[in-house]
Amino acid sequence: MAAGISIKKFWKNANFRLKAGLFGTAFFLFLGYVVYYFPHDNPILFYTHTPRLLPNSVNWLGTTTLGQDIFWLLIESIHNSLTIGLIVATIGTVVGVFVGLLAGFTGGTVDRVLSVVTDTFIVIPSLPILILMASLMRGSATTIMMALVLSMFAWAWPSRQIRSMALSMKERDFIHTAWFSGEGTVQVIATEILPYALTWSLSNFMNATLVAIAAESGLAVLGLSPANLVSLGNMIQWARDRNAIFAEQWFWIGSPIVATVLLFIFLFLLITGYNDYLSMKRGR
């Protein structure tokens, strides 16, 4: 009952962008994690259908030159791209919050060293380094390894934000009260600081998901994403490689492009909408 009321209240206060973003992202999550499990032919196998079909009642988006069903290939790509994005965002957020809290609360030399490393990771151009690592792993890379590599650049920004948050919170009265009433550092962090940090981290989490999906698809266009990984970027790249543009197979090359564009716009609406919602709750 209480949950129902707070959801209603949330919905009343939510702005248009937040609502649109929520709906859109939920739709993609539905495609990637519910529709994905509906029984269907393996879309990766060649010649399971007649090649080069236009959309019809069986193949909703037609088929590729290699006789793959485009609709299910797309669902598979959305599933894998979202999974990579979510893994990277999770690792980045957890490590970022941990490093940020550690730096902010320990202070002294630990803080200085961690801050220099964090700041460098924010400034260093990530794409060239990702290209280097991905080209070294070419052929042997797995989805998980790809996600780990992308995570290397996902923790720095949240870490810096959480550190400054920790620094300012350390001096607040209610934290002092908690210290004086005998709570240990770990307990103070877990019960007093984390709830604050998590509200902010949620917005960062969504942003990290978006950045990771973009980075993976960028590497895919360079031909550097694992060849056995069906992601949105790889689907576009394969269609390009197999001359889908020259053969004017617009559904093959177009559907992953449209899906990526929509996914990114919805995620971006969700992020900016959520940030506006937070600042409105803070009364600004």
């Binding site: 962008r17 220099v116 490393v117 700041d119 460098t120 400034v123 260093i124 151009p125 990530s126 794409l127 060239p128 380094i129 290209i131 280097l132 690592m133 080209s135 070294l136 792993m137 070419r138 042997s140 978006l210 973009a214 698809s217 960028g218 266009v221 360079l222 031909g223 550097l224 576009i236 390009r240 543009i245 020259f246 090359i253 492009i257 990526t260 564009v261 990114f264 716009i265 995620l267 971006f268 609406l269 900016t272």
Partner: protein, 332 residues
């Protein structure tokens, strides 16, 4: 803090960034089980069929020298820092053997800088003007439409915009060639005209996304500034709206955007790399792609080192110019 202290600190941070970056790209490849020399040898053996083991050993040691992999790890590291960072010498390129990788990069880098800088400057000016207008008169229909368009363009990855532009303007309409060609023979004007023609679509791809971001950020900045008391006071004094817009809102919001420009350079450079690859524009991006396809290890290391140096130095330059633009800056 004095300007001199600020200057020294910023230069120091820049050097530190470059150092951590290149240390990273030196040690990362060595943590992977794959060895470029063995890969290369494997390719040669598979082509040659069989080889004399003594010759193979000779070849291995000479390749180790070419790849900068002789000596202990520490020796290799210092020789890489000395040769790579001070003299931009990364050894011979393998795809254009024996031309040094550094020379080829030096030939390609100006194209990327031309593309990225022109697009950045145009995007920054156009985006900030539209953003100012949209934030200052945020209740107008046209402001809302502009912002909505920006929100729908900015989050899209660079290569997708590039791909869509390529399909529409080069493939369907045929206004531009599918792949860029630049004439190096003929007069300077032949060269310049072909350069412009090759740069239009990649440039627009970069500009669209950049403009989107500057509209979004400037809109939120200028609408905050427009709500400040001193703007209200200016209205009470009876100043013209255009004067308030330029002298009060614009001048107070634009400085934040100069700082933001420095931070955006890394992203623009990455975007340029991706866009170049789609259009086959002859810059660093295309070079990286060819190097990856042909496993030109020296070239990959070289382009990436240069990218890190280029981005860090351009960020430094903007940061050092900033105090001259913003009288309020506190060198922090």
């Amino acid at each position: 803090m004095k300007f001199r202290t600020y200057f020294v600190l910023r230069v120091f941070t820049c050097i530190l960034t470059i150092w951590i970056g290149v240390t990273f790209i030196f040690f990362i490849p060595r943590m992977f089980p794959s060895d470029p020399v063995e890969n290369m040898l494997g390719q040669i053996i598979s082509r040659a069929g069989s080889m004399d083991p003594r010759e193979l050993e000779l070849m291995r040691s000479s390749l180790r020298v070419q790849f900068g992999m002789e000596g202990s790890l520490i020796e290799q590291y210092f020789s890489y820092l000395r040769r790579g960072l001070l003299r931009f010498d990364f050894g011979p390129s393998l795809m254009n053997f024996p031309e040094p990788a550094g020379n080829i990069i030096a030939r390609n880098l100006p194209y990327t800088l031309f593309l990225a800088l022109t697009a950045t400057v145009f995007a920054w000016i156009i985006g900030n003007l539209i953003g100012l207008f949209a934030g200052f008169r945020k209740n107008k229909m046209s402001s809302r439409i502009m912002e909505s368009i920006a929100i729908c363009i900015y989050p899209i990855p660079y290569f997708i915009i590039a791909l869509v532009l390529q399909i529409i303007f080069a493939f369907i309409l045929g206004w531009f060639p599918l792949q860029s060609t630049i004439f190096h023979h003929g007069t300077f004007w032949d060269f310049f005209a072909s350069l412009l023609k090759a740069s239009v679509l990649p440039g627009i791809s970069l500009m669209l996304i950049g403009t989107g971001w500057w509209i979004i950020s400037m809109k939120s900045l200028s609408s905050t500034t427009a709500a400040e008391d001193f703007v209200l006071f200016a209205r009470f004094r009876g100043l013209r709206e255009s004067e308030i817009g330029w002298k009060y809102v614009f001048r107070n919001s634009i400085l934040t955007q100069v700082t933001a420009l420095a931070l955006s350079l890394g992203g623009v450079f990455s975007g340029a790399i991706m866009t170049e690859i789609i259009f086959g524009y002859p810059g660093v991006g295309t070079l990286i792609q060819r190097a990856i396809l042909q496993s030109d290890y020296n070239m990959i290391l070289g382009t990436i080192t240069i990218s890190i140096v280029a981005i860090s130095v351009s960020t430094l330059i903007i940061d050092l110019i900033l105090p001259f633009v913003d009288p309020r800056i506190r060198y922090s």
